[in-house]
């Protein structure tokens, strides 16, 4: 059920444009068609709704015009499953003939459509983090301006070992690829810097009570988690309640302490150290503007989902400016997208590597209560972080992708 959600704004925009003397020139060029694959129903809807808000705010800031061309946004709800993603991707490409796809949200959705989208040569910008999408199984039409699963966890491992001086940590994350890749990334760098991961726990995606896992933490000086969705709220509540928080500092990835979750966290989460490619705390002009308007329009501090889509919008705009607004030549369009290098964005400066994956800031934040409100305060910035961290690309790719058992626990 893909439908043009933005019809009203679009009509208002075209009406406004028609009153200007140079309107006919613009009206002559057909609009750029952007398909947004998001999730608006089911358990993943929280992130999906924020994605749409971020992208719509971006279009509002640009008056729905990029590089002189109007934008037609077509929003499709995948329902958060691979079959839905496949159906909607087909609708967007074959029926709506979109020039660019933004989304989908989840890695398993992305994996279901990557071959199809590449075959049709439609550039796709997604937040889905599966490492191998830009590593061992790349897609020539893919661009990722957010991060791979392990990209933020590499610096977190470095920070935990060098700045926090942690020696022995336990990890806990959902029992699926995003969790494995996050924890694997942390372990690799943390152990290279002299630390040791002594225990890795993988609760099922659906876990009502984390007590059996939390009870296993002992003989360590910190816990790293890679939770996502609504699990961070539940986990941090139970972690504090069982007295573990008082004993072992807690660290996490970007989804575990995403800024959009701040309004849901209680004091249970205060003190958590997290690594994220986006932070609403970042002081750049475009971020200040985006955060202020997100709060104004949607009453919500933006996290990675909203900011990521806003940034995707900026990438599309920058690429269209380079192609003079042309979208027909898909190889030229994807080349322009991958050549995008921006300085003022909500995540700071970034560019892409030759796989189409971002090289940019990773922020280490501490969750604090300031003036009565919870906030993630940036305490350190790792600039120009590549998906390969400081490792040699060839050596990195020769190793297997991070998994449940890789890197293995050292005994």
């Amino acid at each position: 059920m893909a439908f043009t959600l933005d019809r009203r704004k679009f009509l208002a925009g075209t009406a406004a444009a028609a009153s200007l003397p140079w309107a006919p020139a613009i009206a002559a060029a057909p609009p750029v068609r952007i398909g947004l694959l998001t999730v608006k129903t089911g358990p993943l809807a929280q992130g999906g709704i924020q994605m749409q808000q971020g992208f719509e705010l971006f279009l509002k800031h640009r008056n729905s015009t990029l590089a002189g061309r109007k934008v037609d946004l077509i929003v499709a709800d995948t329902g958060g499953n691979p079959a839905g993603a496949k159906t909607k991707a087909q609708e967007l490409i074959e029926r709506d003939q979109v020039d660019v796809i933004v989304g989908p949200l989840a890695a398993f959705e992305l994996l279901a459509i990557t071959a199809y989208v590449e075959q049709h040569k439609v550039p796709m910008l997604s937040l889905a983090a599966a490492d191998d999408m830009t590593q061992r199984k790349p897609n020539a039409y893919f661009v990722r301006a957010s991060a791979t699963s392990s990209q933020c966890m590499h610096p977190l491992g470095d920070y935990a070992a060098k700045d926090m001086k942690l020696k022995r940590v336990a990890t806990i994350s959902e029992d699926f690829a995003f969790g494995y890749e996050q924890i694997g990334g942390f372990q690799e760098v943390f152990e290279d810097a002299g630390g040791r991961v002594v225990k890795k726990l993988w609760p099922p995606l659906v876990t009502a009570d984390f007590t059996p896992y939390i009870s296993q933490f002992s003989g360590i000086d910190g816990v790293v988690n890679g939770f996502a969705g609504s699990n961070p709220i539940k986990f941090n509540q139970q972690y504090a309640e069982l007295g573990a928080k008082a004993k072992y500092p807690i660290l996490g990835g970007w989804t575990a302490y995403d800024d959009a979750l701040l309004k849901s966290f209680g004091d249970d989460a205060v003190g958590a150290i997290s690594a994220s490619w986006y932070s609403s705390d970042l002081d750049t002009p475009s971020n200040k503007r985006m955060v202020a308007d997100m709060v104004k329009d949607y009453g919500n501090i933006p996290g990675g989902y909203a900011a990521g889509l806003y940034i995707n919008g900026m990438c599309i705009e920058a690429a269209l400016q380079k192609t003079d607004g042309k979208t027909e030549d898909k190889p030229a369009l994807i080349a322009a997208l991958r050549a995008v290098s921006l300085t003022d964005t909500p995540r700071g400066a970034f560019h892409f590597d030759h796989f189409g994956n971002v090289v940019g800031n990773v922020f280490i934040r501490r969750l604090e209560r300031k003036d009565g409100k919870l906030t993630n305060t940036i305490i350190k910035t790792y600039p120009d972080v590549s998906q390969f961290w400081t490792y040699n690309e060839k050596d990195y790719l020769a190793k297997p992708v991070y998994s449940r058992d890789y890197p293995p626990l050292k005994s």
């Binding site: 129903t41 089911g42 358990p43 809807a45 929280q46 992130g47 999906g48 709704i49 029992d175 726990l201 993988w202 609760p203 099922p204 659906v206 009502a208 009570d209 007590t211 059996p212 896992y213 009870s215 296993q216 002992s218 969705g229 609504s230 709220i233 539940k234 509540q237 139970q238 309640e241 069982l242 007295g243 959009a260 979750l261 309004k263 849901s264 966290f265 209680g266």
Partner: protein
């Protein structure tokens, strides 16, 4: 050592919460012969209503009771307006409850948004209590106490009142119960109200541990199902024992056999269905 003690205590407290979740499910299953797949949604909707009542300034316990009352109305409405029309068509009824669960999930998403909402522990119960070598969150112990109280009340109702006798008669043999003049269809409504009310109440009570989020319904429904299959449908004692068995399996299983987390939970259900389909304490094959 203290880790095992912690797991033991937690098995009991989780069992308490599971009992609150599955008592109503068991009664409905026993009497109406259908697994009410909306039961997880009752739990979630109750929790969300609790959030709203708390937001209006009601006390935690009052909010839980109000949510229960509201869910009784919702449950009764569903039985009267929908399931009643499909009387005797069990497959159609199950499908209706499944469809309703999706609709309620969407409705909750629309009304309360997608962000997870934590519930604060009621005032005075936020601390932890020392038990031998461990300290354990007080509130979780309170949940066990609540579960015991509800279990006793339900037992008194079923065992000592006329209504309870009629319900038991309906569970055992609805046709015969009808012949003796019991209005079984009215019992259906009453039991549905009661089941939905307890589930909604449990949703609020569980809130400080589970928080409330889209998907809570489908997270909880399988747990209710395994508890009731294990204990036997329509049996209060079965639901109670089943809850504590699952509580124990859940806690020790996830530590001892972490790779087999789901197998540990669902294997007992499988075995019971194969070798003792009426459940541990049930009298009738579902």
């Amino acid at each position: 050592m203290s880790q095992w003690l912690l797991l033991g205590v937690n098995s009991i407290t989780l069992g308490g919460l599971l009992f609150l979740l599955s008592a109503g499910f068991s009664l409905i299953f026993g009497l109406m012969r259908i697994p009410n797949l909306t039961h997880g949604s009752f739990f979630m909707l109750g929790a969300y209503l609790g959030v709203t009542f708390l937001g209006l300034g009601f006390d935690f316990w009052l909010a839980a009771l109000l949510a229960a009352a509201a869910m009784a109305v919702v449950g009764g409405g569903i039985e009267r307006l929908l399931l009643r029309r499909l009387q005797g068509q069990e497959l159609a009824q199950v499908l209706v409850t499944l469809g309703l669960s999706f609709m309620i999930a969407d409705l909750c998403l629309m009304l309360w948004g997608g962000d997870p909402i934590p519930l604060d522990t009621p005032p005075g119960l936020g601390g932890a209590m020392p038990i031998a070598s461990i300290v354990f969150p007080t509130y979780r112990l309170v949940i066990v106490a609540i579960a015991v109280v509800i279990a006793v009340l339900l037992w008194l109702m079923l065992d000592r009142t006329r209504l309870g006798a009629m319900i038991r008669a309906g569970v055992d043999d609805p046709a015969m119960a009808r012949v003796t003049g019991i209005r079984v269809s009215r019992l259906f409504t009453i039991v549905f109200c009661l089941g939905a009310a307890i589930a909604g109440f449990a949703g609020v009570i569980g809130g400080p541990i589970l928080s409330v989020y889209p998907g809570l319904d489908s997270d909880m429904l399988p747990l209710a199902l395994i508890v009731v299959i294990l204990g036997g449908t329509g049996s209060l004692l079965g639901a109670l024992v089943g809850s504590f068995v699952i509580g124990i399996l859940y806690n020790y299983g996830q530590v001892l056999f972490p790779e087999l987390a789901y197998i540990i939970l669902f294997l007992p259900m499988l075995l019971i269905l194969l070798f003792r389909p009426q459940g541990l304490f049930g009298s009738r094959v579902p």
